[in-house]
């Protein structure tokens, strides 16, 4: 999912960089409203976990693998805004230390994974949660479905950026169909792992899970008048 240098032209890449910087600033403003001392180690550990999870590529089709994004997982565990900060930190470490994900494409990758998959996927999660019970299994299952949907969402982001500034002339429809199809498949793996991890944390500490009904703390959604 990490866009390398060269796929998207410099103008669109720079534009995405501005959007990503704005998103990060908004995220810090929001976490300063709810991220209490006891959630700080949790948020840092979720970042470490997302970094680890993104290192494992699992086979999806002959000749194709996929890896987790962890964006919905982070958003459900520590909140969508802290989740955006988590994804930004992970992408910075990957790009600056491990040469994974182009440096000129950093903004594009933050937009697709952090903003679209993370914030978008969390919105899907909140929406779906209205139609389920408040049990722990329902929370984990809903997180799994939202996580599965977040992969094709992120792929849509890439297709839009390619349509705006792709460097090789190709039919957008073809890129759209290919990107949606492959990422819908990878989303199945994303959903399964997200559901399992959320269920595991819910079993021991539902009060630490931002997206859970049992969360002991304030959510930014509730702080909005």
């Amino acid at each position: 999912m990490h866009i390398p240098d060269g796929f998207i032209n410099p103008a669109v890449s720079a534009g995405a960089g501005l959007v990503a910087a704005g998103g990060f600033a908004a995220a810090v403003r929001q976490t300063r409203r709810y991220l209490t001392d006891r959630l700080v180690p949790m948020a840092a550990l979720v970042a470490a976990f997302v970094f680890a999870a993104q290192m494992v590529n699992f086979p999806v089709l002959p000749g194709m693998s996929g890896h987790l994004l962890g964006a919905v997982l982070a958003a459900v565990l520590v909140g969508p805004w802290a989740g955006l900060i988590v994804i930004t930190i992970v992408l910075l470490v990957q790009g600056l230390v491990f040469a994974d994900g182009g440096l000129s494409a950093l903004g594009l990758n933050i937009v697709n994974i952090g903003l679209i998959a993370g914030l978008g996927g969390y919105a899907v999660y909140r929406l779906l949660l209205r139609f389920t019970s408040r049990s722990h299994t329902a929370v984990a299952r809903t997180a799994a479905i939202a996580a599965a949907i977040s992969l094709p969402l992120a792929a849509l982001g890439f297709v839009f950026e390619y349509w705006l500034g792709g460097t090789v002339e190709i039919s957008t429809t073809r890129v759209l169909l290919a990107a949606l199809g492959t990422h819908a498949l990878i989303g199945i793996g994303e959903g399964i792992v997200t559901g399992l991890v959320v269920a595991a944390v819910m079993r021991s500490r539902p009060d630490l899970v931002y997206g859970a009904p049992d969360f002991q703390g304030q959510r930014t959604e509730e702080l909005v008048p």
Partner: protein, 112 residues
Amino acid sequence: MSSRNWAVFGGLLLVALVTAGLISQVSSSQPDGLEYVAEQEGFASAEEQHDLAESPLADYGSGLGADSGTARGLAGIAGVLLTLAAGYAVFLLARKPKPGRSPLPPETSARD
């Protein structure tokens, strides 16, 4: 900070270290979804070399000299600890200011 917190925190850290240090060694080397689409649709050739491609840690330690599995595992553990430290530092700055504790930077807390 109760000991129950540390059970969850320790569990998350352990799973992260095992995932990055051991499971990552059997990671599939097939192209991922986006690389696959790029190859199928014919824009893979547009990829430019990463600015840090010559770094020994590039591509998770492929230039470390050790066998690729061990190198990837070591790079993964280093990455987890680095991400943890960076995350802790950033979230300390981005946490909710306590009344009486001078927040950094001071002016933004006025929004609450």
